[in-house]
Symmetry: C2
Subunit: 531 residues, 2 copies
């Protein structure tokens, strides 16, 4: 059973190792555990549905609770406290495009809002109902999860929009193919959600972001279905795919997705290299990207993240040995771990590995083989479960991410980490902050920052602390050359900061498109476009 | 001096070798030479300008003649006959964004149409003035051609939109960089034009299409300037770059372009391989693309193009030797030439060459080294000059291009070549047709088809023949899974066929955007969006 108030399956439990707890207590003080609400008490608080009965719409309290919130930190706090605010009045589970169209027409007829819902994993407030006079219909696409067609010659697969990561990959793998899109939310998030929010997977260096994988599909809008054919490339005017990508439910509901797939690789390996300092490591990562070494993934942890990861790894004996080995080779305090992946056929991979090693040696990189890389690959989808473990230990964790030009990476990282680290200083609280680069480009890189803090003694205090940190970091990002999101999307939480990136004229044209497709403003109100 | 009625500089002359003439005469019959008009008689026919005088606007007849037409086949016929139809009433040469804004305001005040003009190389009718009551102001960006900023760390260059290929490359090369964008029109076409029409360069396999190279910039619109910041990637809503790409002047005038550049490669080589049949060659090209062999270019000529190229190469002795060598190794009648490029550092290139050769050997490819590849690279921008030579020999040549999925490449090529080859059969005329793939993707490929025919005995007859061929081919493309353009854009000539690709709902949203930016419909009327 999926957790109603947290990440993933109840049966999956990620423990915080003892040294991890000590590491945080030393930096932040002892944990502050807040009481969790029961599902039963939340269910009792769900108000009656304002929607008329409909055969395809569930309006029982549990279904409505389970579709009321995503996985942002405010969502987390609301769920743990049991104070969810607004609920959808009903949740529909259409099984095909025709049913989506009927439900949209029904919503218009009954003056309802509509929230398209994929895996419910948004960390930016995409799927939360907005309080208001209109009833709220959430449209879950979970039943539209099948591989509908596979063109093995053109490497094109057609899916329902509600297929989540495991459903996408298992249906493709059975035929010898992979999409290769692995965001951290992969276990729960869906293909339609990836498209709607411009997701990026951990191996985008090989497979591309969802923008490159999404070849075409159908968007159901109040102006009728918009069918986008899948061409390898086209010069025939503005690319309509790009209106669907990042539309976050404002223009319509994605009813079908065609994606570019790959044959399963012959071989895939992940390697770890330690570099003696942030400066050298950053130059090394940039050089790998700009030399177009055909890797499938590059991830570079800064010194604070490297230290935290080794502390939380849970094998102090082995880690101690590793650290002594690295120190002997020049990577001691301040060292940074760079993980890279190589995916493809054996002879290509061997050539890529030689290139990567030679290049990183030029930055004093110490190569440690595949052990840590394998650990990373095995644990790649476990990080979101850690929030539960930290919460139970009395700590709050959140992440934020951006992308910027290489020239600006170090400076922006310093500023964002700085405002987070000092963000609760007035209250005498420490914030533990660390960062990695997870996606590298010729032009620049993404930055992914994790921050851990104590919640205080009440949910209100925890939320206020988060708001302060999130606002300070968001303002710092957009005013210093960073995008407000490299992979999580805008939702409601980032909408106030979007104008700096898009400009008022950019927002105006997006608003004109929203009016074109949805003149009554029923779809995902409050999301993407600030009101 | 640039030719007023044809391609390129008057001093550049490409001759048709004697065997080339014989080759065509044998297939099409003797050439039919039509008389060319003089510039003087055309100048005498230019009507008075309907624009009020303005210090930045030239309205002398020669400037107006030289900006009246592009390089489509109807343009060519109009220029050679000296019957140009509508002229711009004046041509402005702004030197900065501020002057573009002033000129747009002035055009609105005087109720003029505005045509943004780059290199004048459109082959789809992008820059032709439309007859009507409103005077026409053509806005040439040729003076805005400088490299304004270069970020060597983030590989980002900022240019004026009017920089043509040689201006882009020479300014970058002086600093050790390249854009790597080499469309066939490179000598004359401009960066702003590439962006506005979604151009693709011959080495897009390494450097990307202009969509990947265009990082951001500014579009001057009647709703004010739309500034698009350059991020390495962003998940913050629909990508506004994609509204500018392919906008073909309908939404605004591009006043600044930021592009992603590369360091100059250590080494670059082009190789030719002959494959015994079209089927094997097509499988070989597809496998190269889908295996992600890091090549910079793949071009595959079908059997008819291979035969034509060898016949027109002009060295019958050497070609005869080559053909005997190939026949001994199994590539005789029906053979297809595949050219591939490898660009990068020496050790990467060596690994790529090994992979490509091994892979093509699996399709019975006969490797011939770099001689023919070098010839291709040396002559890569000369093809457009050949229209002049063929014209003087009494033949008309035009090209068209599309892209489709691998599964459909052979079928679509057969259909398009078929309708062209049979297109003038009613008149007892032959059409010589051949095709190559010039851009390969995992999903599919571009198709670039050349067709040569006799003009008949009058300009009216020549135009009618072209119309018949072009219409038959365009209908065949869009009704059989091809895009109406992979690289040339829509302009006026392809606009009638766009609805099949975009759908009426797709065109509706593009029209809504055009209304948003240009409510009075002044910009490039008739282009892109069918009326």
């Amino acid at each position: 059973m999926r957790r109603w108030n947290g990440w993933g399956e109840e049966s999956t439990v990620v423990e915080l190792p003892a040294q991890g707890g000590a590491f945080l207590a030393e930096r932040l003080g002892p944990g502050q555990v807040l009481p969790d609400a029961d599902l039963a008490e939340v269910l009792a608080r769900v108000p009656p549905s304002r929607l008329l009965p409909h055969t395809r719409i569930a309006s029982d309290p549990e279904t409505r609770v389970r579709h009321a919130r995503g996985q942002s930190l405010p969502d987390w706090l609301a769920l743990r406290e049991g104070q969810l605010g607004t609920f959808p009045d009903g949740v529909a589970f259409p099984e095909n495009a025709e049913q989506i169209r009927e439900l949209l027409a029904w919503a218009a007829q009954h003056d309802a809002q509509v929230i398209p819902y994929g895996g419910g994993t948004s960390v930016a407030g995409h799927i939360n109902p907005q309080a208001g006079a209109r009833p709220v219909l959430t449209l879950s696409l979970e039943r539209m999860n099948r591989l509908l067609e596979l063109d093995e010659e053109s490497l094109l697969a057609t899916f329902g929009p509600g297929a989540n990561g495991p459903q996408v990959e298992s249906q493709l793998r059975a035929r010898g193919f992979t999409l290769g899109h692995f965001p951290q939310s992969w276990e729960l998030s869906t293909l339609g959600g990836w498209v709607a929010s411009r997701s990026s997977g951990q191996q985008s260096l090989r497979y591309g972001r969802i923008e490159q994988l999404f070849a075409g599909g159908t968007l159901e809008t109040f102006a009728g279905p918009l069918e986008i054919p899948a061409f390898p490339a086209s010069a025939a005017g503005p690319d309509l795919r790009e209106l669907v990508l990042g539309s976050e439910g404002r223009f319509g509901v994605i009813s079908q997705v065609r994606v570019r797939v790959s044959r399963l690789p012959e071989e895939e390996r992940f390697y770890a290299v330690f570099l003696p300092s942030w400066e050298r490591a950053l130059d090394g990562a940039r050089t790998l990207a700009q030399a177009r070494v055909p890797l499938s993934m590059v991830r570079l942890s800064n010194a604070a993240e490297t230290e935290t990861q080794l502390a939380l790894a849970g094998h102090p004996g082995q880690i101690g040995l590793l650290e002594r080995y690295l120190a002997l080779r020049g990577a001691s305090a301040g060292k940074c771990m760079l993980t890279f992946g190589i995916t493809g056929n054996r002879s290509q991979n061997a050539a890529s590995l030689r290139q990567a090693r030679r290049l990183l040696r030029g930055f004093s990189g110490v190569f440690t083989g595949t052990l840590l890389g394998r650990k990373w690959a095995e644990g790649r989808f476990r990080f979101p479960y850690l929030r539960e473990a930290l919460w139970q230990a009395g700590y709050v964790v959140d992440t934020l991410e951006t992308a910027t030009d290489w020239r600006n990476v170090a400076s922006l990282m310093g500023k964002v980490e700085g405002v987070l680290r000092e963000g609760l200083a007035e209250q005498g609280e420490q914030v533990h902050v660390f960062t990695h680069l997870s996606h590298v480009y010729g032009q620049g890189s993404s930055l992914y920052t994790t921050y851990v803090f104590r919640p205080g003694t009440s949910y209100a205090e925890a939320l206020a602390r988060w708001r302060r940190l999130k606002h300070a970091a968001s303002v710092t990002l957009v005013n210093n050359g960073g995008t407000i999101s490299h992979q999580h999307g805008v939702g409601r939480d980032h909408a106030p900061y979007l104008a700096v990136e898009k400009g008022e004229r950019g927002l105006d044209v997006l608003r004109a498109m929203a009016r074109h497709f949805d003149p009554d403003g029923r779809l995902a109100p409050g999301v993407l476009l600030p009101e």
